[in-house]
Amino acid sequence: MQGFAPLLSEGLEYVTRPVLWNVPLPLVVLVYVGGIGTFAWGAWRVWERTRPARARGRIAPEVGWGRRARAFLADVLLQRRVAREAYAGTMHLFIWSGFVVLFLGTVLVFLEKDTPLHFWYGNFYLASKFVLNLFGLLFLVGVVMAMLRRYIFRPARLHQTLSDGLVLPLLFLVGFTGFLVEGARIAAALEGVPGASVGGVTPTFERWAFVGWWLAGWFRGLVGGESLGLLHRSLWTAHLVLVLTLFVAFGYTKLYHAGTAGANLTLARRRARGALPYVDLEREDLETVGTATLAHVSARAALDLLACTECGRCQDRCPAWITGKPLSPKWFVLDLRDALVTRPPDTPVPGRVIEDEVTWSCTTCMACVEACPVGIDHVEQIVEVRRNLVLMESRFPSEAAATFRNMENSGNPWGLGNHTRAEWAEGLGVALLSSGAEVEWVYWVGCAGSFDDRNKKVARALARLLQQAGVSFGILGPEELCTGDPARRLGNEFLFQTLAKQNVETLNRYGVKKIVTACPHCYNTLKNEYPQLGGVYEVWHHSQLLADLVKAGKIKPGSLDSATLTYHDSCYLGRYNQVFASPREVLRSVGGLKLVEMPRSGREGLCCGAGGGRMWLEERIGKRVNLERAEEAIATGAPLVATACPFCATMLADGVAARGEDERVRVVDVAVVLAEAALGGL
């Protein structure tokens, strides 16, 4: 290994290189002043355009500095979220890591040249050259991967703009000319060109800069002697011009996501995904609700928009987009962003920037938010537009009007008499809190469990399982109202708060501490949103409690006839609240059942189409989302499709029936599966 050996004990001072040798100084000044100035001008333009957003208030910190620091480390520095996709993740990781290491290399050179420090020589110099060459090479590999993907294998989700066409070649040229400069310098030093090496030594140790060394050999074969100095100077000039262009590009192309995405992932990090922002509707100075014009886009939302990298992962996973609806989460963000930075602040958003049908297509499933590598909350912004449409414009689908009316008059979306809420429990001996029963748990039955025949069976199954396990529980019966989730997701914040305040008052009156519910929508609202209204409880989903009871041996699962089954993740339980394991644990505890996963499961699970109040709206455009999901479930060949959400169960059962498979495939709740095994039927 000639050349790799000389980790010298003597003459270490010469094991380094001259800094900024042969560089045209005016050009360096131009790069610093012109480049940084142009970048600053571009950034200032965007900053000015977001003035109305910033005037609406600073981004209130939702998490402490500890969590922000962890987010910076994991999501920004180490690219955890980006690396969720193998090709795109590895590609970006190479580019990013190369960028960071080369930047650190520049800092290192700056410290050596412009401060009293003197440490870049000897073994440290050799090691740093190796690292810089390695990551510089990875940078180029990453850029080539990106170019292949953009120009040859372009996925449908990527759109092409002029700046996209220029940015990647520019990055490549900056990296490549950087290596050429190094190669020319090493070649010049080896040929003894004055000033090319420190102390005039022949720098065979530069083999550690393995890419530059290889290029130096090539240059020496091409150009000889003193001409290498001229070549080096020419390459330096080209490199600096490209660096100058890159500086400019950072201010005017999506490359600025290097700053905005990092800020969005760390400084603006959200506490919980399940809670929509609270609006104080009783505020006297409240002029409007939701996003009426571009001036109503909040600072947090503006940062979200500016962070977008246009990668399209959100679009790829969006159930609305997949089934042919006019919503693409990517274009929702980009249309709003482009309007924010180019149109006057008084431009109306609903109907002008974002078409109504786009807004109403969303199922609030969070697949877009889960997929987004830079932490954008598309759902929050879509609901803000809905809020304005519903509360200020009174413009919403006609079916929503009936749902709102039912919830307002009867306390449930079906519009059935609320006095019949406890009828499902007849003969089961379930305690009503109004009867004065002292219980540990309140079983929040939800509207589906109370009024929908399919889901009444789930309520009965759960009640019997809890009784068998000796759990002390009771229900509110007619005192329970809809949590308001569909109203809130449909944009009717007023109706949500009306219902929620009544429920909180009831729960607090009984001094409720622990709640269990079989409905993920109720679960999410009770757990994440009721604290906004003074209702703080320990909320469990029934799958969590059942899994615990099975583990504790209080429920003996038994077994069923041998069969395979598949599990459909509810968005509000899974992506919203990270409950993926408990329902699967319950199903796996039952003997004879074999769980097979659908291609899109867990965090990547596909919505059933019912979320965001879509359960109560007609689906007139494209393919029905529940059909798309039911087909995926049917394709597993499993005769049982389990779920842990009443709305998912209804949607999937409808989808299975629409495909004529309802004789073969049965859709069931996990509680029903467990009850059939543990209790020998219902």
């Binding site: 180490l78 690396a83 193998a86 993740g89 990781l93 449908a156 006019p326 693409s328 980009l334």
Partner: protein, 69 residues
């Protein structure tokens, strides 16, 4: 000054090593997702992404997408 020089060497060495390890971990996760998860594998091979249903309404957005700056 000697101490500061040693500190600079130490800090840069540590940062390089820790970053390299962290990135190796991230790359490992990305690649293992592709190798060991069916969905990941499909995504790696399926360059064109998931098939989306085409409707005039969705095409309207797609058309606008192409026209956007």
């Amino acid at each position: 000054m000697e101490l500061l020089n040693s500190a600079a060497v130490g800090v840069f060495s540590l940062v390089f090593v820790l970053l390299a390890l962290g990135w190796l971990l991230s790359a490992g996760r990305a690649i293992s997702r592709a190798c060991f998860r069916s969905y990941g594998t499909r995504r790696l091979l399926d360059w064109k992404g998931l098939p989306a249903v085409s409707t005039p309404e969705a095409s309207r957005v797609r058309g606008r997408a192409r026209a956007s700056p």
